[in-house]
Symmetry: C2
Subunit: 190 residues, 2 copies
């Protein structure tokens, strides 16, 4: 088997993911990736013929990641609050990398995305919103959490706090994000 090319393909994807969250779809180029990997632009086109294919690949990895996380969270022997904290921690890390979350990135660039990508983005967003909603519903059913809204609505509130929270914190500082997290956890703590 040709190991190197598989490594290159995943390496391209990893860098593309970072560039998407740091700069957005329209602000990075194949040259940025090629430079970091010491390969030529055309090598990227070999693995991902068009930028559209590359972005589809990026979104796919996030769909898989969150599907995996969703299954893990259902089985995990931890409180619902701890589950949400694990999820929130994923967002907190982004700020140190001067990144925003992938959903915020594609949402901002949405009007400029190819149709095939838009459909996948919708799938990713539904997945994450429903995962958080499910965690919230379970937590309330178990008496671990308290909130008066519908789980889906509360999920929307929390997800928008987090998504825009990292966008804001990249500009105003991480403290604003920490304040948001503290407040929203206080809201649902019993």
């Amino acid at each position: 088997m040709l190991e190197k090319s598989i490594d290159t393909k995943t390496a391209i994807l990893t860098i593309a993911k970072d560039l998407m969250r740091q700069l957005g779809y329209n602000a990075f180029s194949y040259a940025d990736i090629a430079q970091q990997l010491n390969i030529k632009n055309a090598a990227i086109h070999y693995h991902y013929p068009a930028k559209e294919d590359l972005l589809l690949g990026v979104i796919d990895t996030y769909i898989e990641e969150y599907q995996h996380l969703g299954k893990q969270l259902i089985a995990a022997p931890i409180s619902s609050l701890q589950k949400l904290s694990l999820f929130i921690e994923k967002y907190s890390v982004l700020i140190d990398q001067k990144s925003i979350c992938i959903i915020g990135s594609v949402a901002s660039d949405y009007n400029t995305l190819p149709k095939s990508v838009r459909e996948k983005v919708l799938k990713l967003i539904d997945l994450v919103i429903n995962m958080v909603a499910q965690t919230l519903a379970d937590g309330r059913a178990k008496g671990e959490l308290t909130f008066s809204e519908e789980p889906k609505t509360k999920s929307l509130l929390i997800m928008t706090n987090l998504a825009a929270g990292v966008q804001l914190a990249r500009i105003t500082g991480k403290n604003d994000f920490n304040e948001i997290v503290k407040a929203l956890l206080d809201q649902i703590k019993k």
Copy 2:
């Protein structure tokens, strides 16, 4: 006086504002503006030599707009809830235009913005966050609103709900935004 050029300059700014919110800084070009106004690219460079200058102009109009709104809100003989509703209405309108708010737009593109723009963006964000915080603080002092967080923190929570709310609603539909607004108004209603 040469009236026409002043109209052209403001017309450029108006279109740039729309393009910023619809496509983002890196996805629109001088050609997009020139086409809509039936002028040449170079005419835009005459009024705004570099794209940086154009973006500075765009941010300036929003700073002025929100400074104006802030003053209006202080004097207005309406309830704090109505003041917040007026502010929220500005966001609601964006979704119909397939736009996001200017703060979300520049926040997403932040790493790609010139330094001079970044400083102005920070000023705009502080202005809006503090305006909402002030309205919340006044409303609570007058007994019109209820919330347990610090006004600044509650402002961050509401602003992130709105900013990411319009980003999300552009993809998933306006109903999600309406749900968010209903829920956050319920939270602070007495």
